[in-house]
């Protein structure tokens, strides 16, 4: 099955900007979901507002023209071919570029209305509230318990509370049943999928507001991936999630809104990323407005 066909199973046939149907319907029985989800009636509460954001590395623009609103309790996906700046934009949301030498973030990024890059803002506090899960699971070489307890301990949580937080985080990350009883064993002895869920638990233990995920499943097998996608669906009730993924099916499956990025080569031969289109996921995958978006999701490139 092609990617478009898969998208089609969730949203119906993909139409081009001129309204022609492009996808072939599979020969099997009609696809599962009958109709796209209804938009919730409540107003969207905006968590992040990016206006004309541009990120440069040592003076060279990596991504530009990024204007997007990210809403609470939604899963927003950044998709696009490699090198188009999705991860770069993600990392600007929790000021991870601060630790990259030579990186500059221009434009405005606000978080709950507050300018994230104002000099009055404490970057450590930013990262406590806006957590991140990385592409390759990176548990500390400590025990499972100590990994999850790390965040609360750093924040001075009392010892009695730490144990509760650890259990709660591991439960939320759907890992508790598997590690209960071996909390003191090394985190490195877990499987890849378990390690990634451990990293999610570690992130949840500091009780963040937002969870940023940078291609969290790309190093995992399909079964582990499916578990994490189920997890994300539960988590979005309590957290705001932004996920970068190069897997379109995944974006189609889990996200509420999708932002499509692509890379352009300018006259000087430099690759620059750019946000092309941002909309409700269903729209992006069924009737995108920009031909480049359509080209990507129909598999013509990328």
């Amino acid at each position: 099955m092609t990617d478009t066909a898969i998208a089609a199973t969730r949203f119906g046939p993909v139409t081009t900007t001129r309204g022609e149907s492009v996808a072939k319907r599979p020969d099997e029985a009609s696809p599962g979901e009958p109709a796209p989800d209804e938009q919730p009636a409540r107003a969207r509460e905006i968590v992040f507002q990016l206006s004309d954001v541009e990120v440069r590395y040592s003076g060279v623009t990596a991504v530009q023209d990024v204007t997007v609103d990210i809403a609470a309790n939604e899963i927003t996906a950044f998709i696009g071919p490699s090198g188009c700046g999705k991860t770069t934009v993600l990392r600007s949301l929790n000021r991870m570029h601060d630790i990259t030498p030579g990186a500059e973030v221009l434009g405005k990024v606000t978080y709950h209305g507050q300018d994230l890059y104002s000099s009055k803002v404490d970057p450590a506090e930013v990262r406590r509230r806006i957590g991140m899960v990385f592409q390759k699971p990176n548990p500390f070489p400590k025990s499972v318990y100590d990994n999850v307890a790390y965040g609360p301990r750093i924040n001075g949580t009392k010892r009695s509370e730490v144990e509760e937080r650890v259990k709660k985080a591991l439960t939320q990350a759907a890992l508790w049943d598997e590690v209960n009883g071996k909390l003191r064993t090394s985190a490195l002895s877990l499987s890849g999928g378990q390690q990634q869920r451990l990293c999610i638990a570690r992130c949840l233990a500091v009780e963040p507001d937002v969870i940023l995920m940078d291609e969290p499943c790309s190093a995992l097998d399909p079964i582990a991936t499916a578990r994490i996608e189920d997890l994300m669906d539960d988590l979005k009730n309590d957290y705001t999630i932004v996920i970068v993924t190069h897997n379109m099916q995944q974006a189609a499956r889990v996200s509420d809104r999708t932002a499509f990025f692509t890379a352009e080569v300018d006259d000087a031969g430099h690759r620059r990323g750019r946000l092309i289109e941002y909309d409700v996921t269903e729209t992006i995958f069924t009737h995108p407005s920009d031909p480049r978006t359509e080209g990507y999701i129909t598999g013509r490139f990328g």
Partner: protein, 325 residues
């Protein structure tokens, strides 16, 4: 987190003092100060030793480069000592270099892979033996038979023009430039081997395999693929070994014999900048002491120059090979 907009906690903005930021900055400063100790110590070494040695520089002036070291006459020309330092180090490097390269080649290209680690450990054990133990052994075990050997060599070359001066009157105890050179050679072998081995290990195996695939023998492969790639690394390793040899004090002090004149006779006694300090400092005072400290200054300068030269060689190769990578 609830769906209503959470009020941003006060700690979100830095305000007066976000938790932990002072400790964070303090740690950075402490770490920086620790690193700066290196600069401070080196600076102090340079300043304090030069200051103590000034009387010597002032009294002798350029005379420090003459061959007139004689405490009883209060004259301290250090040419003989500089010469001795160069001679002993020269002998040591000449003897050690082929052996070190041989061992490095043995480990990287000849010995079976399983043996590599044990061999490296063994050679490193040579490095672990303290200098004074080398000196003790050289004095009591090596020197006596060497004294006999020197007699034989000296007698054998008695008639040959150049050789009879180089292998002149041997010292009866065996304490000589040559003995010192031999023991220092043994002592610097581990360091030259280790550096050369690391350099040889960076030769891309693709190049080695290419040579072998063309039908080259192992030796031809070494000459064709390993040596050209490693030339500057070997030079750097040699320089570092040379620097170590020049600074070697105790073992040399025990077996060099203590004579501060320039002489071509390598079988006879001598002295080096480092060993004269060890041998004479105890009873020295006034200008004598200043002169000995001055020898330390000269030694300090020489070793710094060699360090810098070795480093330039290494960085120049890195730059060159980065271009060809």
């Amino acid at each position: 987190m609830a769906t209503d907009a959470p009020a941003l906690p006060k700690s979100f903005t830095k305000g007066s003092r976000p938790p932990g930021i002072i400790a964070d900055r303090a740690f950075r400063i402490i770490a920086l100060l620790a690193a700066l100790m290196v600069l401070v110590i080196l600076g102090l070494i340079a300043v304090s030793t030069t200051r103590e040695a000034l009387p010597w520089f002032r009294e002798e002036g350029l005379g420090i480069f003459t061959d007139t070291w004689d405490p009883s006459k209060n004259s301290f020309g250090a040419l003989g000592l500089i010469y001795g330092t160069l001679l002993v180090s020269g002998i040591a490097v000449v003897l050690s270099l082929p052996i070190s390269i041989g061992i490095a080649l043995f480990v990287t290209d000849v010995a079976p892979r399983r043996l590599r680690r044990p061999i490296v450990y063994t050679v490193d054990l040579l490095a672990a033996i303290p200098s004074v133990v080398y000196g003790l052994w050289a004095l009591l075990v090596l020197a006596p038979p060497l004294a006999n050997l020197f007699e034989t060599v000296s007698d054998a070359t008695a008639g040959i023009p150049v050789l009879k001066t180089v292998f002149g009157n041997p010292s009866a105890s065996g304490k000589s430039f040559m003995t010192a050179g031999i023991i220092v050679a043994i002592m610097i072998t581990p360091i030259i081997t280790s550096i050369t081995r690391e350099v040889f290990a960076t030769v891309p195996s693709s190049q080695k395999e290419a040579a072998l695939a063309l039908g080259a023998t192992r030796w031809e492969m070494i000459r064709g693929a390993v040596f050209p790639h490693s030339r500057s690394g070997m030079v750097a390793g040699t320089m570092i070994g040379l620097g170590r040899a020049m600074g070697e004090t105790i073992a040399v002090a025990l077996v060099i014999g203590s004579s501060q004149r320039v002489t071509a006779n390598i079988l006879g006694p001598g002295d080096t900048l480092a060993s004269v300090i060890a041998n004479q400092f105890g009873e020295a005072s006034g200008t004598h002491r200043a002169a000995l400290i001055g020898c330390g200054v000269v030694l300090f300068v020489i070793t710094i120059l060699i360090s810098m030269a070795a480093r330039t060689v290494v960085t120049r190769t890195d730059r060159r090979s980065a271009g060809t990578a």
